[in-house]
Symmetry: D2
């Protein structure tokens, strides 16, 4: 699976002359949305099915600053998925040099619109299998 690419934008810079750290959390979401599209369950489809996927937690470690116009590649990994809880890992590296810039994680669950936990294995086995499939594939490579 190809890595997601984001070009760092001027409006993402701050007065330290580097990309503001909050944007990496947004890039992780960009990569996540791209990943969901790649496994054929884009967010529009998930939401149209009445399922929402709130973020339970995020973390990010900043290794080296990013600067405007750099292309940052994001390698996403399904670190954990048990049918209820999904843990994604992100490696962000600069495209030309391959230099690691940041690593992060996000934890997700799936609920219906009333906030009740949805067990994907029962209620949407195709999506459940897509998440498991991409995990195994990734696990094998990791």
């Amino acid at each position: 699976m190809r890595d997601y690419e984001h070009k760092a934008q001027y409006y993402e810079s701050d007065q330290m002359g580097i990309i503001h750290h909050s944007n990496y959390i947004r890039w992780m979401e960009e990569a996540r949305m791209d990943y969901l599209s790649l496994i054929k369950f884009p967010m529009e489809k998930i939401e149209a099915a009445g399922i929402v996927s709130p973020v339970a937690s995020v973390d990010c470690k900043y290794k080296k600053p990013c600067r405007i116009n750099e292309v940052i590649c994001i390698h996403i990994t399904v670190k954990e998925y048990n049918g209820v809880k999904l843990v994604l890992g992100y490696e962000m590296y600069e495209k030309e040099t391959g230099e690691l810039r940041a690593v992060g994680n996000s934890v997700h669950c799936f609920t219906n619109r009333d906030g009740q936990i949805v067990i994907l294995k029962k209620e949407w086995p195709e999506f459940d299998m897509a998440l498991r499939g991409s995990r195994e594939e990734k696990g094998g490579a990791g």
Copy 2:
């Protein structure tokens, strides 16, 4: 009616060392939401009534840059309101010096959730009067 105040944030700065110009459009919205709360029609109430108020256009002229930790006051004026179209004007000035930093405008209409224009005078006369009332008050001061 008191002016809205926003403290310019670090994450709003850019690598020019000033506040990024896109944030002023967001500050205009902050002042607009505050204005709607002041006239007793906060956005939650408007949306709960099934009415949405998309932005038809915005403009902003930048006079002098803003910097982090400056408090920017925003004076909002109802420039035009005819029951269908609402034009708001914004003067943004630095609190301590009173120095003008930017001026802007936003144009709004009101629709139902299907995107059809709502004539407030007919369908929500109390809100219509609140918008007219604040206009006259402002007009008298201008």
Copy 3:
């Protein structure tokens, strides 16, 4: 010259279920940075030369809402350039349908780091010619 493309992101949506209007101002900047790179004067080069290009004004008219995962193409035009003042126009349309979503403008000048106006024709004729060249090319097509 190819148009710039931006995929609308989840974090750019708002609770109306559409892309928040402030992001279009940022997309205009993305397209502008891309344009500067295409004419071989990327912003890094301009800033390294000690020149800053503050935004003097922006405006945007919203025709039809954008939604997440739509690819928005931005066609940029040099509307006016006299060696001191640069006016850029932006047409934003959805890639698949070609449907116009928004049109905007931005006005720029060029200064040194002390805020003094720089006359590009004198002080950086190569950049001046690049801006003029792209104007004529665009003008001929318009």
Copy 4:
């Protein structure tokens, strides 16, 4: 020390109808800047002294969603400070109910403009003491 307050903004909402999770990282920064001002070392002063304070890592656990126009209070704690590394903790709760919405942490170091670690105890003892002082005060209350 009073807690920092942030009113959740419309432009911070997303199409789930809640505040987008990336904004909490920005609110943590707002609270941090406010804290630095309260201990008399506002970021302008730190940067004017040639010191930058990059974020080494952040994390945030989301307990319950925030909605527009809610006032979120942020209680900041110096969890760890050894003269080189600073760990701040954040508790974010809704003002009216006191309900906890999120908890987070950020880790910081201090460098000069060339990226070299600055040992505050040696190079800026007043700032070092201000960070220690607020730690002890907080520690005593915890």
